[in-house]
Symmetry: C2
Subunit: 350 residues, 2 copies
DNA sequence: AGTTAGCACTCGAACTTGGTGAGTGCTAAT
DNA sequence: ATTAGCACTCACCAAGTTCGAGTGCTAACT
């Protein structure tokens, strides 16, 4: 059954009120609600609300309480009723000026966003298709070589490599030539055992040292492939009393502390959705089990090189979707802009 | 007034009981408590407890409840009554095997410690006296130079430096020589305007580029000087119902999220205490205001080079001091050991 | 037919009441 | 000095009470 215009209005009013107060909303409240020009008595509203309840959009927690939106209700609101805010929620871009280090910037984004919205946020680093752009060994001191690897997107990895045989400059130079010949431009996934075998052959007498070097490099590359994720404002979750059930909420907070877990979960689900742009996950729809009492809104941003990353906002189901969606929209636009200007130069990874 | 032997025993019994249960403990409980061979009736205990209350070691939350230790009581316990555990609380050292990257290791320490104790933990990186050990510029691509700086303790910093003039290999080589001449072996604090001026003079026509390079290097160095801090198990705090006052606890959790703040606070207070070894801060004694309903136990570990770092455990006032202290003691010993073996090689910073 | 006023009803929240028991302080006997 | 005994206190719990917001239904109104 399609909702007629009036039912839509009433549903919208119920949700709008509930988003504000977090309390069940009653018929009288709606009938006094002027924003939508309903002008109906509470009795009429009651009849309509009874229908809406039967249809599963709202529910009353007990006989003599008002109504509360169900997940289905929120879903309908987000899909059909919510017109987005016109006024641009200016993300304080002053805070976003320093683009010179990718990592810091993304942390900053998470922080600013959490501060502005009062929800929990997370930002993943862009998933470049990682090809090796630059690789270099240097002798730092008698016992250590330093491998510096720069991959596409200017993410830098360092690795100290202990060596027990003294090397002279020429040896190091040789290694560098060897490494660059084989590895420059290679995608990280392509660096496999075969390639390593081939390099070893060429290394001749230094095979043992090469082994150590490899071990270091492989580790560094492996790390470069991990999806970095930055979070902020996790404790904002505690501000919403409906999530006050500590045992549940603390699990959620733990998930936040364990960024690894979080990143895996997100990677699996969000990347598999080929859709781009803003996604809203309400309650059970969320990919992360621990968030099932919350809602998650994600947005995708793009780097000029084609890499994409995800920004997520986690809040109570009654979060201000309108604000969150428009904030995220503006933020991604702003980010795309910044990246276009900066064109990826001047970035850094840990 | 000095506490006589019996009062001490009773105080100890009260605290021991309270640490276990978290409930106010009554006279009858103590009189049945066999561990200390008191063999007194509850009435006698009551008289003694009344004295202890008058002296400020314990307090009863209301007329007909048992007694609870005060901060003063805890302090006395920690200083005089608590004999440390004999059996070594083995920190699962298997998890500490990978020493190859300082940063990862310290994170791991925080994690393992939080997991084993069920309290919140934090670990600061060692405060090396940071002298530049190695500095190198490389041309990564047409637009970017990469500065790699290694400071004592093998902490590595990277900085991408955009340049708008094409440079050839010889230019880069020149810069490298220049940088190394001036900076190698210099303490980070010594790198000041004068030195920079002197270098600029020598740079001649490339002064502008040098400027950019400097800016990058200064930033990198500045960062290297920040006290790194790693935390774990912050959500463990929520497990203790006496800290269940969400508004207070959430502030504490926020402090944990803001590692910067935390690190500044700690730096100020803990480093200023010249004492080493284990320190116990109870309630108000803690350097961080938000922790005043908790206790903080810190330990100092040493690197062979003389650098030191701090490990902290934050829990409720009724934390198991005995266990925490002995765990920390063993941990620092183990760490000192690991560092001695590894002798600082094979480390890395972000 | 759609809307509304009116009314009986429901049920959670908040408050009251009384009983229970753990624990205390005091006193008097040992 | 220690202890048994006793009156007293007070948080906690369960049962009962009131209160009011909100509902569903019916009958009257437009």
């Amino acid at each position: 059954m399609e909702l007629d215009e009036r039912k839509k209005k009433i549903l919208k009013a119920v949700i709008a009120n509930y988003l504000e107060t977090g309390e069940p909303v009653g018929s009288r409240t709606i009938s006094k609600y002027t924003d939508l020009d309903l002008n109906l008595s509470s009795a009429t509203i009651r009849n309509e609300m009874a229908d809406l309840e039967e249809l599963g959009y709202i529910v009353s927690p007990h006989t003599s309480a008002g109504r509360v939106p169900t997940d289905k209700g929120y879903r309908f609101y987000v899909d059909n009723l919510m017109e987005e805010k016109e006024e641009i929620e200016e993300v304080k871009s002053s805070l976003l000026e320093r683009v010179d280090r990718m990592e810091l910037m993304l942390k900053q984004v998470a922080k600013v966003l959490a501060y502005n919205t009062n929800y929990a946020t997370m930002v993943t680093a862009p998933n470049y298709r990682k090809t090796v752009k630059f690789i270099q060994l240097s002798q730092v001191d008698l016992d250590n070589l330093l491998a510096v690897i720069v991959v596409e997107g200017n993410i830098i990895k360092n690795q100290m490599i202990p060596v027990n045989v003294p090397l002279d400059n020429e040896d190091v130079l040789k290694f560098n030539i060897l490494l660059n010949t084989f590895l420059q431009g290679a995608a990280l996934e392509d660096i496999n055992l075969e390639m390593i075998q081939a390099m070893k052959k060429q290394a001749g007498e230094y095979e043992v040292i090469l082994d150590q070097i490899f071990q270091g490099i492989v580790e560094a590359i492996h790390e470069a492939n991990e999806l970095e994720i930055y979070t902020s404002g996790a404790t904002n979750i505690l501000k919403y009393p409906e999530l006050g059930d500590i045992s549940k909420t603390s699990e959620l907070l733990e998930t936040f502390e364990n960024k690894n877990e979080l990143s895996h979960l997100l990677e699996k689900s969000i990347n598999s959705e080929s859709e781009e742009g803003i996604q809203v996950y309400i309650g059970d729809e969320t990919p992360v089990q621990n968030m099932k009492d919350c809602s998650l809104v994600t947005a995708t941003y793009k780097m000029p090189e084609g890499a994409t990353g995800t920004i997520g906002i986690i809040g109570p189901k009654r979060m201000d979707y309108k604000k969150v969606v428009s904030t995220l929209k503006n933020l991604t636009i702003e980010l795309d802009d910044i990246f276009k200007k900066g064109k990826g130069e001047n970035t850094d990874g840990n």
